[in-house]
């Protein structure tokens, strides 16, 4: 069964008087448990597509359904609550909050739940242990390497046990070794923990880890490839 359904999704931005088209009638279907890679040249609309899936942007036309929810019709308030429960987002530049420890960064999404302090603590340590950083919980981002920061960001993304993980160039700012560790972790989350993952990437090595690839060009889907 498809977890993600996009139907004729079009997105354009208005900059002053100019209308800039980004996506043009894109339709995709992603089954639950899939690991999908989105590739394409710069400006092809990959990140825009990811933003639509995350519910942090709205399509100009068309529909976006994740699970049973037609997210393109939700209010801002409902969308925020939906994101908190259903989405884990991994940014290219990690985007950890520098004044919070690794523990506190991972705990952030749980502050929006009704879990007790002890329950939040258990969830956080589980997530940090999955990414292999249980012993760095009290360290600040400035005390971690780039790869470790990205792993903390992944822990933050999975701590609420979301259905869907969205990763926007997660290895774009990492060296080869760290990139490899992060990709191995994402593969493990997909294969072992059955997380559905959509990953935007330029990196062919990253693309190899996905089970399917979609190529976008000038806002339209040009190719779908099964990997491996």
């Amino acid at each position: 069964m498809a977890l993600i359904e996009l139907r004729d999704v079009t997105k354009s931005y208005r900059r002053d008087a100019i209308e800039i088209p980004v996506l043009d009638r894109v339709s995709i279907s992603v089954p639950e448990g899939d690991f999908l890679g989105l590739m394409g040249p710069s400006g092809s609309g990959k990140s825009t597509l990811l933003n639509l899936l995350a519910g942090i942007d709205r399509p100009s036309r068309g529909s976006v359904r994740i699970g049973d929810t037609e997210i393109s019709s939700l209010s801002e308030r409902a969308l925020a609550a939906w994101r908190a429960r259903n989405i884990g987002f991994i940014f290219q530049l990690y985007n950890l909050i520098p004044v919070l420890t690794a523990f506190e960064n991972v705990e952030l999404p749980l502050l929006l739940t009704s879990l007790s302090k002890k329950q939040r603590r258990d969830h956080v340590m589980t997530a940090l242990n999955i990414v292999g950083l249980g012993d760095r919980a009290q360290h600040y981002p400035r005390q971690l390497s780039g790869g470790q920061e990205q792993r903390v960001a992944i822990a933050r993304a999975i701590v609420t046990d979301p259905k869907l993980l969205l990763a926007d160039e997660p290895t774009g700012d990492l060296d080869a070794k760290s990139a490899g560790e992060v990709l191995t972790l994402l593969q493990r989350l997909n294969q072992e923990y059955k997380k559905t993952i959509v990953m935007v990437t330029h990196d062919p090595h990253a693309a190899e880890r996905a089970s399917h690839l979609l190529h976008l060009e000038k806002g339209t889907l040009v190719e779908q490839v099964k990997v491996g």
Partner: protein, 384 residues
């Protein structure tokens, strides 16, 4: 409560900027508390003043004296039960900087009519029996480490009393029993300084005790009528009115000091607001990330406002504390007894902290609104 850690850590993000904001709020609250102490002091003295005692001075100005014959004339006015009188001596103790009120009184009647001047019977008797004796307030004793029996010399500050020294012996230490009387004054015998002075037989003000407080207006008029069209016309008011007019000699204090306090608070508001706005601008990406994680716009708003309030409350508490320390300690002595009940009381201190919170709230409103309305995609794109 689970967000309090986030608020506190965000507030400590830039320690230097937070410290400067705390300091600016502290200064505003300090000034507010100190200015309020002045106003409250004048108001307290006025409120505590008697409405059964009338004060008569020269109608032209208090700085001009009246002949002692006025005392007996006032005593003879129907409705007057008792009379006393006093002169401002304006003496200097060692250095002009050592300012305190020193007043020549008719001792028996003055102490009889002012039961708020509390002194032991033995010391009172010793004072009455010694023409060069004086009573000093407990506040003065603390200030100069005086004791009963000490000799004090005052140089006259008014030409009326000549240029020679006036030696006194401390015969008693009094405590104040009312807000209308301070504990920073030196009282001594009117006869002693009148005899030694360059001009004789003059009084600064006459105090009359009424039989019936309701007759204050009528008796005041009767007293002034006695001296109408004479070279020494008088103006008589209740002591309460006299205190109020004394304060108003300094101008419209409420307006003046209130305006100063308001100007300082508004300036601090703008400073704190600008600081909050800068802090929010620097955190655009973080806010966008938190929105992506599912934080509602209203939660972001409350977090930013919370941060503003926390920082400003710390500043407010610091300002109120320093105001109490300085105003209640040193400053009281610098007022020289002019303002009997002068200090930052508990209510003023709490108001100061509350003012800090209000400054924080108002300063954070606009930055918090901007933060909550941030478009997630645009904010994330700014960094990328």
């Amino acid at each position: 409560m689970k967000f309090i850690n986030l608020v506190l850590k965000s507030a400590r993000r830039s320690k230097r900027r937070t410290a400067l904001t705390v300091l600016s709020v502290a200064i505003a609250v300090f000034l507010f508390s100190a200015l309020r102490a002045v106003l409250d002091g004048f108001n307290a003295a006025t409120e505590a003043s008697s409405s059964t005692r009338l004060v008569t001075i020269r109608s032209t100005s208090m700085i001009f004296n009246m002949p002692t014959s006025h005392v007996d004339t006032i005593r003879s006015v129907p409705g007057v039960q008792d009379v006393t009188y006093a002169n401002w001596f304006g003496g200097i103790y060692k250095d002009p900087k050592n300012f305190f009120a020193n007043i020549a009184i008719e001792p028996e009647s003055y102490l009889r009519m002012y039961p708020e001047i509390i002194v032991s019977p033995e010391e009172k008797q010793a004072f009455l029996e010694d023409r060069t004796g004086c009573l000093v307030g407990s506040g003065l004793v603390k200030r100069y480490d005086w004791h009963v029996g000490d000799k004090i010399v005052l140089k006259p500050g008014i030409p009326y009393y000549g240029t020679q020294d006036y030696p006194f012996t401390i015969r008693g230490i009094y405590k104040s029993g009312s807000s209308a009387v301070d504990d920073q004054t030196m009282w001594f015998h009117w006869k002693y300084v009148d005899e030694r002075g360059a001009v004789h037989g003059q009084v600064g003000w006459v105090v009359a005790l009424l039989n019936n407080p309701d007759a204050a207006t009528r008796v005041s008029q009767l007293i002034d009528e006695k001296f109408a069209n004479s070279p020494n016309e008088t103006k008589t008011d209740t002591e309460k009115q006299f205190q109020a007019s004394f304060a108003s000699m300094l101008g419209n204090l409420n307006l003046l000091l209130g305006s100063v306090a308001l100007a300082v608070v508004i300036t601090t508001l703008f400073v704190a607001g600008n600081t909050m706005a800068m802090s929010v601008r620097e955190r655009t990406t973080e806010i966008a990330v938190m929105r992506t994680l599912g934080f509602q716009a209203v939660t972001i708003f409350l977090l930013v406002v919370g941060e503003g309030i926390v920082v400003s409350i710390v500043g407010g508490a610091l300002g109120a504390f320093v105001a109490r320390l300085i105003v209640n300690g040193e400053f009281l002595q610098a007022a020289g007894g002019f303002i009997p009940q002068f200090g930052v009381n508990n209510w003023n201190a709490v108001t100061g902290v509350g003012l800090g919170a209000v400054i924080g709230l108002l300063a954070a409103l606009i930055p918090a609104t901007m933060a909550s309305r941030l478009k997630i995609v645009d904010a994330l794109r700014r960094v990328a």
